[in-house]
């Protein structure tokens, strides 16, 4: 299923989307399919898989460490697409840094996404001004380049971003890096409302710092179409490295808890 279909399906059901992120290959490549399936059983609507990069500047310590574990365990883009192709049931997106896409070749990367049923690409270090070559490859292959907007994004930048954004708009909730925070930034609700005025039919999903059901509820209530939870899932992996059964159960339970907060 495609991202857009998922969002319109959820809209009819009066639900927000729960987008769950984990770093592929963490703790090892052979665990990723089980981890993703546990989250899908728990009720995530969209899976966002991280393809680790050695220098992830937009990530906080939890996702940095996950990337280090995965790379140490031998994770690479070839293995990534092998694994991604085996995970079914929800629309999938890949999150990685631009150099990884560039070295594989923009066209080949998009082709691999199509082959493995990945519908969207998120690249935190690729601003709209530098995105033209990848946008072209994405359009050719029918893949969504998921653009990001932040609280610091000016109106004129927002216009440029919305012109190209596809799939959904990734709204960064806070001027900061990824990572769970106790409370959501007070900026979130006004930010979602501000973007909503311009974004038309494009779904908005809010990420960065969303770790609890009440955060999910808050962003959905603010008018967002989805909530992206990453570090909170990755933290569960980090805390249960020695016990896979417990790890999978906890991921599933937590996904279920978060999902229940998306019902309007």
């Amino acid at each position: 299923m495609k991202l857009k279909e998922k969002f319109s399906e959820l809209k009819k059901k009066k639900q927000g989307a729960l987008i769950g992120f984990v770093t592929a290959g963490d703790p090892t490549p052979k665990d990723t399919q089980d981890i993703a399936e546990a989250m899908i059983r728990g009720g995530i609507d969209i899976l966002e898989l991280g393809l680790p990069f050695s220098d992830p500047v937009a990530d906080g310590p939890v996702i940095q460490k996950a990337g280090e574990r995965a790379l140490k365990a031998g994770m690479n883009p070839d293995i990534f697409f092998e694994i991604a192709g085996k995970i079914n049931g929800v629309p999938k997106a890949v999150l990685t840094y631009y150099n990884i896409v560039l070295q594989r070749g923009l066209d080949k990367f998009c082709y691999d996404c199509v082959k493995t049923d990945i519908d969207g690409i998120v690249i935190p270090d690729l601003p709209i001004e530098e995105a033209a070559p990848l946008l072209k490859a994405c359009k050719k292959h029918g893949i969504c380049l998921i653009c990001l907007a932040a609280p610091t994004t000016t109106e004129s930048r927002l216009g440029k971003i919305l012109k190209e954004a596809d799939g959904f708009l990734y709204v960064v909730s806070v001027a900061g890096v990824t990572g769970a925070r106790k409370e959501l930034s007070a900026q979130v609700t006004p930010l979602v409302k501000r973007i909503k005025q311009k974004s038309g039919d494009l779904p908005l999903a809010v990420g960065f710092g969303i770790s609890k059901p009440e955060h999910v509820k808050e962003v959905i209530d603010a008018g967002a179409d989805g909530a992206i939870v990453g570090s909170a899932f990755v933290k569960i992996i980090e805390e249960n490295l020695g016990d896979k059964t417990k790890l999978l159960n906890r991921l599933e339970d937590y996904a279920r808890e978060l999902k229940s907060a998306t019902l309007k």
């Binding site: 220098d55 150099n99 560039l102 594989r104 601003p127 907007a149 994004t153 890096v177």
Partner: protein, 396 residues
């Protein structure tokens, strides 16, 4: 054409590959920089600090003994080691700290490898009354503990970075994360001609005084341009600083001397121009040391200041155009040069700068006696005496 273009590109290199959170700040930085760099009052303030505080202009010293020993070209040393703080780094930190003040920022952050940029940032922040925090890899805080203490004495806080390779690359990641999180009051003071546009331009602007002085001085002393200019290249700020003024003088050969470490063939080096491939790191498209998947490799050099897996985009461009000649010097060759310059001239070069000296020792004997070389002696070697002693098996 004047480079960079309005997208921050030097040919294909450069650009602005930054998280969206930072993009408005980079746009604001570029606007402020372009405004103040033309502002008379700003220029007057900067000139004042460079002269009265940093000690500019630095001498262009004829290294008579070294020249005689090598029995070839005449060698001149551009004495950036005499700049306050012991390296060329202060030229840039004074300029950017003044810019930060003008922009109303109260806190500056920096990344540092050898600690020279961290020290220079601490100096500029102390004199201009800015709060200063410096990110430094834990590996480097051990290798360069003297510089950590110097920064502390000047009231800068050093934040050890324990992620990744625990060196300059990771300190840069962490400084960027800090900036992302504290964009309102914080100025990120990058120490080299690297990072997203406009940083390579800003740092070049504040370092080009090295070449401007050197050109004037060599014309006074020799009545003609030098035949070669040599500078070590980590990120490339001292190299761009001295090269910029000579770029249009096509007969002047410009050598960018990279860290050959244990030898390029061993894979343990920091020579991105000589052995790197194109990619994106730290906001720029440039030559990088990376594997076939695009993961950044850990670089290596005896000199912490050259221990970086990338290089500034303008240097990648100039190397591609054939305007500069990239070469590499091994740890052992740099150590030899360190000893020889100390012995013959009574000048201890920084291990970084010793790479440029070593290249001159290779090239000068093949040149004629009426030809001249300028070496950018970018820093002094006092900070390196422990490293050198250890390499020579001396117990201090």
């Amino acid at each position: 054409m004047d480079l960079p273009d309005d997208r921050g590109r030097y040919g294909v290199y450069g650009g602005r590959f930054s998280p969206e959170v930072l993009m408005p700040a980079l746009e604001e930085l570029e606007r402020s920089f372009r405004k103040f760099v033309k502002d008379k009052e700003f220029q007057r303030d900067l000139a004042y600090y460079l002269k009265e505080f940093a000690g500019r202009p630095t001498p262009l010293y004829y290294a008579k003994n070294l020249s005689q020993k090598l029995n070839g070209a005449k060698i001149y040393l551009k004495r950036e080691d005499l700049v306050h703080g012991g390296a060329h780094k202060l030229n840039n930190t004074l300029g950017q700290a003044l810019l930060a003040k003008r922009m109303g920022k109260t806190r500056v952050i920096a990344e540092t490898g050898a600690g020279q940029h961290g020290v220079a940032t601490a100096i500029a922040a102390a004199t201009l009354d800015l709060k200063c925090e410096v990110y430094m890899g834990t590996e480097d805080t051990v290798r360069q503990k003297l510089n950590v203490f110097r920064m502390n004495l000047m009231d800068a806080r050093v934040i050890p970075v324990d992620s990744g390779s625990k060196t300059l690359k990771d300190a840069t990641n962490e400084a960027m994360r800090d900036w992302i999180s504290n964009i309102d009051n914080t100025y990120y003071l990058i120490g080299s001609v690297m990072g997203p546009h406009p940083y390579p331009l800003i740092v070049r602007e504040f370092q080009k005084i090295i070449g401007q002085e050197a050109k004037k001085q060599i014309l006074e002393k020799e009545g003609k341009l030098p035949d070669a200019v040599m500078a070590c290249v980590g990120g490339g700020s001292n190299a761009i600083g001295i090269f910029h003024e000579f770029l249009e003088d096509k007969k002047v050969e410009l050598f960018g001397v990279e860290a050959g470490g244990k030898g390029i063939e061993t894979g343990e080096h920091g020579a991105a121009l000589c052995a790197g491939t194109n990619g994106v790191l730290h906001g720029m498209y440039s030559k990088l040391l990376q594997d076939r998947y695009g993961q950044i490799k850990v670089s290596y050099s005896i000199s912490a200041g050259l221990d970086y897996p990338g290089v500034g985009p303008e240097l990648s461009y100039l190397a591609g155009e054939g305007r500069i000649t990239p070469v590499s010097i091994t740890d052992d060759e740099a150590l030899d040069a360190f000893k020889i310059l100390s012995k013959t001239e009574g000048i201890m070069p920084a291990l970084e700068s010793a790479h440029a000296v070593a290249q001159a020792m290779k090239t000068a004997p093949e040149m004629k006696k009426d030809e001249t070389i300028i070496i950018n002696l970018s820093g002094r070697g006092d900070k390196d005496v422990f490293t050198v002693a250890e390499a020579l098996g001396v117990n201090l």
